[in-house]
Amino acid sequence: MMPERICVCVKPVPADRGSRPPSLSPTDEHAIRAALLLREDAGFEVVVMAMAPPAAEGALRRSMALGADRAVLVSDDALGGSDLLVTSRVLARLVARESPALVLFGTASPDSGGAMLWSSVAARLGWPLLSSADTVTLRNGTAVIVRADGRARHIAQFRLPGVVALSGRSTSRPEIADIVRSKRQEVERVALSDLRLSPGEVGRAGSGTSSRRIEGGRAGDTVILAGPDAADRLFGILVQRGALVG
């Protein structure tokens, strides 16, 4: 049985200086490109999906300019304050709705919780997961990945459906014609009720954690060195603070 759909889960991130609307990260673009390559091989439908504020629509439109067939956005005021538990709950429902053969994630920074997210989504779906994949290919209902594991590289595989997190990043400039075409395409909006989720299951109410700001940090204690002996004084500070001792 040949699969017919690949979902790519993306997380639109604020652009560099924060003023522009969220955009696709290079790691997400890499995952989209990988999905498009798989489509060339076997003709899947590529669906890009995100849980994000409405401002992320532009990022999803860009994914269609890059070649994705469809883009789906879950956006709801009730989602504000959602933690990882909620995000994985929503994304797993969103993915399940499309019954894809394969779900792709781009590798975000270790800090952003990306590894927790794709693992949570795979666990909720009950699907196998392979991460740190350099490449992914599909063959006879099996996903085969080459993974850089520390310093070694090895091959691993699973029977579809499953989840793959790709390492690597890429950016590409869509053709003007594709940008124009994408303007006519609709980003599909999915409501919480479409996912059979109540407001109590999402946002702060549905989250498993909470946090509040407290004091402390390093603001205001910066030492500034200048002048011809700056390097020598820097060396002195590094020695004094034991920073160079292994």
């Binding site: 270790p110 693992s119 292994g246």
Partner: protein, 347 residues
């Protein structure tokens, strides 16, 4: 709660009511990671007891080490499934343990694998997960964690609202303590294929000798747009070499094709938290700062004294990196050459 074996070493009987936190012990090259042991010590310190989970047929080799680090109960899974991708066995073992026993707190050190395990546990047991925790405390019997917020100079206190709590700690800098006494070892059986396991197909090439891994480096020397040209990178490599650190670069440097992506620091790539971060010619974009602000000591070398990174760093050096870095290499090189070497101030 069938934890009767524990009475061997907990004689007052309170353990039957006590909530023993579980620490997952990650192995690297067959040995427990320093981070896992640090978390174990932390848990033992604040709770007075700690359970450890270890998945390897060679678990016996590590009992002494784990007890010394703080383990008072040791759960092990000695199964080997040669055809299965090794990491999926770890998840199955954790799920089996958490299904059978009543651990309400599960803690991890930080790595890609532990984040994936924490994510799976969080989803399967509908448990809240806090990560990047730098410290944990018990206040009024309730576990609380602290981490840095996105805003410089601010911290967040993190709590859980679910019965079961999952925590991933920034474990690199956690102190390792030494405890006396033993632990009871309890064998567990991994839930057989709780979900389909990927198959492991073997290596495709010999391990390649590679540069020191950025994420695990104690010291990172990073370069950005302020570098005159590509040859400046050799200067940074030289500094990294004398301090036994790794080279990092900001995104523009990778985009120019000057250095591999594997060495990029930033929120879109590798985030690092070394003991010492030396930023050379990096003004400090939001993305870059997000990828290194958790470093213990941050030094910035920049000609622009109002560059954003100057507001975040501990020591800011206003000057040209092409002059500062060679002098620093000279000073450190001389001091490393031997204690008798005289390092003369310049001029």
């Amino acid at each position: 709660m069938p934890r009767t074996d524990s009475s061997v070493f907990l004689s007052n009987g309170e353990h039957l009511l006590a909530d023993v936190p579980l620490v997952y012990v990650e192995l690297n090259g067959g040995k427990p990671t320093r981070g896992s042991l640090g978390v174990l010590s932390k848990v033992r310190e604040i709770y007075g007891f700690a359970a450890a989970l270890l998945c390897t047929p060679e678990w016996r080799d590590h009992t002494e080490l784990l007890c010394a680090a703080g383990a008072t109960e040791m759960y092990y899974c000695d199964e080997v499934w040669p055809d299965d991708e090794p990491e999926s066995l770890q998840i199955d073992a954790l799920v089996a343990l958490l299904t059978e026993y009543d651990f309400s707190t599960v803690l991890f050190g930080d790595s890609r694998l532990t984040c994936e395990l924490a994510g799976a546990v969080s989803a399967i047991f509908e448990s809240g997960v806090n990560w990047r925790l730098e410290d944990i405390v018990l206040r009024d019997g309730e576990l609380r964690g602290t981490r840095r917020s996105g805003v410089i100079g601010e911290r967040m206190e993190c709590t859980w609202t679910t019965v079961r709590k999952v925590a991933v700690m920034r474990s690199v800098n956690l102190p390792l303590r030494r405890f006396e006494g033993g632990a009871t070892a309890i064998r567990i059986k991994a839930a057989s294929h709780a979900r389909p396991r990927p198959q492991f197909m073997g290596p495709v090439s010999e391990p390649a000798a590679s540069a020191r891994e950025l994420a695990s480096a104690d010291i990172v020397v990073a370069g950005g747009r302020g570098m005159r040209d590509q040859s400046t990178l050799r200067l940074l490599e030289e500094l990294a070499q004398v301090v036994d650190g790794a080279v990092g670069v900001s995104m523009p440097i990778v985009d120019r094709g000057w250095y591999p992506y594997a060495n990029q620091v930033g929120s879109a790539s590798e985030a690092v938290s070394p003991r010492l971060y030396i930023a050379c010619g990096i003004s400090g974009s939001v993305q870059h700062l997000a990828g290194m602000r958790d470093s213990q000591l941050i030094v910035a070398v920049n000609t622009d004294e109002v560059a954003p990174i100057m507001g975040l760093c501990d020591v800011g050096v206003v000057g040209d990196l092409h002059e500062i870095v060679p002098r620093l290499i000279e000073l450190i090189g001389s001091s490393r050459a031997g204690p008798s070497t005289d390092v003369r101030p310049r001029q």
